[in-house]
Every structure is written in C-alpha cells, then in structure tokens.
Amino acid sequence: MAQVRERYDRLKRFTFADFSKLAAKRVAIVGVGGLGALAAEILARAGVGRLALFDYDTVEEANLNRLVYRTSQIGQPKVKALAAHLGDANPDAEVVSYPHDVTTGRGYVGLMGELDKCDLVLGCVDTFGVRLFLNGKCVAAKIPLIDGGASENGINGAVHVVIPGKTPCYRCNRPALKQEQVTTDRRDVTGVCAFTSLPTTMAIVASLQCQEAFKVLLKFGRVAPLLLYNGLDGTLERVDWKRDPKCPTCGRRKT
C-alpha cells in the first residue's frame, strides 16, 4: 500500500485538480498505434481506473521505431501486448482489450457496450471515415471524444476535443464534407498509402490528447476545441471555432 501511495505522490502535489478521482474513471482508446499506445501508457500511469483498448492490428517490426512495443512482441495483437505492458506499468489500472475492428462484428458490439459505461473516448485511428464514425457515435451517446492525428508528412499534428453540445464536433466546419462541394475530379490513385510517422510528433500529439483528457475528466482549465501543432515552425495554435448549426451530426438543424 505504501508503494501505491508513493506512485501518485507527485500527482498529489498538483494544485489544479484532484488526480485521485481518476481511479473512478473509464476511458476507451480506439486504435493503439503510434498515438494510442503512448496515450494509454500516460493515462494508465496517471491512475485512470479502467482502460478499454480497441485495435485489430498486430505488432510489426515497422512499429518499433515509435511505439512502446518490444521486439519479442512482434506478431502479437497490439492490444494484448499493450495490456501486458500496462499491467507492469501500473497494476492498479484495469485494462480490457478488444482485438477487433470497431466498425464491425465483436468490435462494434464491444464499442457500443463501452460507450454506455465510459467517461471519455480517445480516437487514435488513421482513417478519416472511422474518425467520423466515432464522432457520430460519441455525439449520439453524449460522451466526450478527443481525437488526435498527425499529418501525412509526419511533422504536423492536430487534436480535436469534442464535448457533445458544447464544442464543435469533428464534422462541424468541414466544407469538404458538404454534399454540394464534393470534389469529384479523377484522382491519380497510385495505390500507395504509407504515411510518414515521426516518433516525436506522435508523442507530442499523444501528450496533448492526454492533457486535454485530464482537463475533461477532472474539470479544470479551459478545454481547447482544436489544437494545431506545426512541427516545422514549432508552434502550437489554439482554435476556438464555433459549432455549425447545420452540422449533420451535432447540429440542431440537421440537413
């Protein structure tokens, strides 16, 4: 017991919020790749009571430059490998792993079940469609969603904080998604879609996600609806954008 008290000693000195409340919180993390694995580790070490991890992928050698996984874990499902790691990092945290795709089958059912229970969802996925799907489900269930992502070139990042009814959802203010303005030019599809992934950018974005997650869970500070990180210039910009009343997902006048 003395060890447990020692573990959170530095967090108890934090004056803006009571971190001991994290023990009663549940967080679902969708995607435990470059962002999700780091975010899960930060949250588990800070003392979040229950973490639900979703990812159907397995650990590959190409992941080892930036993730918390070890060489001996190559071939294992990412969620299982991460659950073992988090169990060592903080045995207090209860980790539930779903090695399934959240958009179908058992993963979908698992996500719907977790949405009823969790206090926050962390979106760490690499597909735009799944981001919108998570956004829609979280807005419908009135659960905060914090989505993080890095740019294709790996140097810039963005964090969206979606608090349903308060901050703009992921779909608000995106003219590219409006039906009238769809661009349908014939795209030059080369068939290659391997994006750069820089460990530093990933760590920065994951940390920003967790910082906002603490603010949402413990209700301190001023939540930033959108944070834009520019790695080339070394700038971090806060964007206070407004909700779109005609947003098909969260607007009062849905089209």
Partner: protein, 181 residues
C-alpha cells in the same frame, strides 16, 4: 391580381424565396447522379436495414443501366450473397479479362464507406493489413482531402467514384508495364 381584379391577399409571414441556380451548383458530373443516393440512414444491425437494402439494390440497378445504355460499357457486375446484403460479390471486366470483386458492408456502414477488394490486383496496395474482414483492400479515402462519403451515399456511388477510378489507374499502369495486352 385575381381574375376578379381584387388584389391577392398578402401573407404577413411570407418571406422571399431563396432562388437556387441548379445549373450553377451542378458543376460536377457526379452531381447529376443524385439517383444513386439513398434516403434511409440505417446500419445492418438496425431495424430499417431491409429498407436501406432495397434502396441500395435500386441504386445499383440504375447504375448498371447507366453503364449499359449510356456508357455502353458494363465493366462491373455485383450481387448480394445473402438476404442480409452485407456481402457482395461480382466481377470487374476489361475486354477479355475479368477479376473477382468482393465488397463488405460493415456494421458501421453507412457511417463508413464499404470495404472493397479485388484480390488479384491487390499488389497495388502496400498496406499489409488494412481491414480485419477483408485483409488487403482497395486503397481509398484515408485523408480528409479525398473524403467525400456521407451516410446517404450508396454502394453504387462508391463503385462509380472510387472503384472505377482505382481500376482505371491500375489497368493503365498494368498496360504501361506490359502486363496487360
């Protein structure tokens, strides 16, 4: 004025109508394919899914008609494998060549686009695992700038806007390399 000469009753709450210039907004060719949209927003686990299935089938039939009679080139055929209509199989044709096509509508559909693959052309994507259900698949809308999907889009529209361009570019590349005569 009415036929009797009396003035028309004025509606106190009448507002000027917004005039929409259809010819101005219909800039893109695909805007004319509104009949490939579905009215029902329902996922496979939902009660209204059978209705959505009917709309999907209707849109697909209209698209095949369009290909047959307008473009004179029915390069694709697709049919549901079961009554749930979540799995579709068919062929992609180019001259004497034909490739199998498989499409899956997941539980999250239509919030996410269909998952589609052409197994024999899969070496054109480099992602080792992109989809739990299908394994390798067609490399499509990953990023915002190329994303156009919304809940009312149909499978037929997906074939028109994604699969057709992907197949075109792959075949063009294969011809350039001499793999396809």
């Amino acid at each position: 004025m009415t036929p009797t000469g009396a003035p028309l009753p004025r509606d106190r709450f009448a507002r000027p109508r917004k005039i929409v210039d259809r010819y101005d907004t219909a800039k893109q060719e695909d805007d004319l394919f509104y009949f490939l949209l579905c009215g029902t927003n329902a996922s496979p686990p939902d009660e209204k899914w059978p209705l959505r299935t009917l709309e999907e089938q209707y849109a697909l039939d209209r698209y095949f008609e369009y290909l047959k009679y307008m473009e004179k080139h029915a390069w694709i055929e697709l049919a549901a494998t079961g009554p749930s209509a979540t799995r579709w199989r068919g062929k992609v044709r180019d001259g004497a060549h034909a490739w199998d096509l498989e499409v899956i509508l997941k539980d999250a559909y239509p919030a996410i686009p269909p998952a589609c693959r052409i197994p024999e052309l899969m070496h054109y994507t480099d992602r080792k695992i992109d989809d739990e259900a299908l394994g390798l698949r067609i490399c499509d809308m990953h990023m915002e700038q190329s994303y156009w999907w919304h809940e009312h889009c149909s499978l037929a529209l997906y074939l028109k806007r994604e699969v057709s361009y992907w197949v075109q570019s792959v075949l063009q590349d294969m011809r350039r390399k001499g793999w396809l005569k």
